[in-house]
Symmetry: C2
Subunit: 341 residues, 2 copies
């Protein structure tokens, strides 16, 4: 996909100048004599140098820049997804302009507008702030991950299957009541599939279940407070019962686990916990947490593959007419660790 | 520092076109009639539009892009620092091209060379892969954070004071032996100050101490294995003694804490633990971890302030001659939580 690139070292070797001099040619050309500037310019032509990106922007309008918008870096899933997406540089060569909106919708929208004015070639977006209809109207390829995606391409986990897996595991673990905690969200959000998969499985097997749809907050302090009072409620409502709890993600599962250990000294055998994501915190927790794993590395690579196909198409002299959005679904992987029987 | 910007919405309101049409003008102008393109172009002139960045790159060679190179996203300190630096967009308007090298030195160097060829305006670098002498030779402002910084500007915590604070806290906590675990590193690395501060304090107060200089690995699995065998060694060497352990960072302090709880069911009173950084994991741990806090938000903002001053200077018609590197030192803050007496 990408040609072998000529490096500063190659140009230095070819011209006999130092790498410092080559760098100065690009960044501070006036510090070189006109004669030396000309020598390097000639060498670049000989070497068919690909690196003068600003020159390429002029010629083609293409920047090899991709915007990457995440909601925050607090949730371990986003941090890990960011890490995996950045790592695709070695394969695809695209560089990422990264932004974390942290719920400031106006700043995020302004950032996206700035990126578009810079002629970024495409965008990967995990944040749900801007509706997909608006994103699609920007006229650059956009791939969404785990967000509303009606008008844009996307790569998502099979969330419904994830909900089925979580409920099925808790069913086999001998719980008296199984509970799913999640945010109340519209059907257009992929994660809502987890709720449907969970409920359908409970109904199919006639399992006693409860759905607790509530917003757990955006910071650790808010999470802690709300999950703590949630625990109080469950204790009151189901004293002595074996409770199987399917948390919305591993970050929140870990908060619940730590609250229980802080209260009882260890994880009581009346609690089983399963998270979602297989983000790093699930294996780093004091008791490794069972989880419905999103294949984060697979999703990152599929998203970049899909985006780069669309970006490369646009660079052709006669691009194929745009098709509708493409939605790729990646299966979840159930990972049994120590918080379930 | 930055002028009020004209948004797509402003242009839409001025011209009577939709925001979608305005976006198309920038990204897919052929989809508009020539007449409409002209109307929008005229409006941009009237509104003194600042957003056509590619046009600005042509005119000035300036991109408002800053390269941000971190070693990895596994260590919670880097993830939090990244979050805080990205958040300066609201204040300074610079956008960040982010890369995590993950110990692949050749890929990281290539990435930096690409950024330079794109005329980024400056760089913030936490990774230690490329020596500061080489970074300084690139001819763009560079600010280092917690890395070797002889030839570049930097913002660092007062690491020596941090080592003093950690040893002093453990001294008052009635330990029989106090131990500092860290990587063996050259004096040129700011974090080496922690070791000197720790040792000087132990010597000053005639405290029994041990320095364990060893590399704990780059992944959670490596950390776990090495810290686990370290714990075996300490158990053998100091059975029944009250051990105060100063870990190199909160991520590793948390691994040690979890290993001890997994072995003994709770944190034995023969162990006291203090970390470094005040990264999120220190307060999210199952027992909140005492730590020598780096003021991460202050460091992020100081680094961006220093870098933007240098970048703005370069944009002037007659920039002041470059001075030598500037080194800013931020005091650490001792945070006593539940892993020390």
């Amino acid at each position: 996909m990408k040609q072998k690139k000529v490096t500063f070292a190659d140009i230095a070797a070819y011209t006999g100048f130092s790498k410092t001099t080559i760098s100065r040619y690009f960044n501070d050309p006036d510090s070189l004599t006109l004669e030396n500037q000309q020598k390097i310019a000639d060498a670049l032509t000989e070497l068919d140098y690909k690196e003068n990106k600003v020159g390429r922007i002029l010629a083609s309008g293409k920047t090899e820049f991709v915007g990457l918008i995440i909601p925050n870096l607090y949730m371990h899933f986003y941090s890990e997804m960011l890490s995996q997406i950045l790592d695709t540089y070695g394969t695809y060569g695209y560089k990422f302009l990264v932004f974390a909106g942290n719920e400031k919708a106006d700043v995020e929208r302004k950032y996206i507008e700035e990126l578009l004015a810079y002629n970024i070639e495409g965008m990967i977006i995990l944040s749900g702030t801007v509706p997909s209809r608006e994103l699609a109207s920007y006229g650059v390829p956009v791939v969404g991950i785990e967000r509303e995606d009606q008008f844009i391409s996307s790569v998502n986990t099979d969330n419904y299957m994830g909900g089925v897996q979580a409920a099925s595991l808790l069913r086999k673990s001998g719980c008296d009541i199984i509970i799913h905690v999640n945010a109340d969200m519209p059907d257009s959000q992929p994660a809502s599939g987890r709720i449907r998969g969970f409920v359908d499985t409970c109904k199919e097997y006639h399992l006693p279940y409860e759905l607790i749809l509530t917003h757990l907050g955006n910071t650790f302090e808010e999470n802690r407070e709300r999950i703590s009072s949630l625990t109080d409620q469950l204790e009151q409502k189901y004293p002595g019962k074996r409770k199987g709890i399917f948390m919305p993600n591993d970050t929140h599962a870990n908060v619940l686990l730590n609250i229980l250990i802080q209260r009882y000294g260890s994880l009581p055998d009346t609690y089983q916990i399963i998270g979602f994501d297989n983000s790093p915190i699930s294996r780093e927790a004091v008791i490794p947490i069972s989880t419905v794993g999103q294949q984060i590395s697979v999703i990152a690579n599929e998203a970049m593959k899909l985006l780069s196909e669309q970006m490369e198409e646009r660079k052709k002299r006669r691009p194929a007419p745009q098709t509708g959005p493409v939605h790729r679904i990646i299966p979840p992987v159930l990972i049994r660790r120590e918080t379930t029987a």
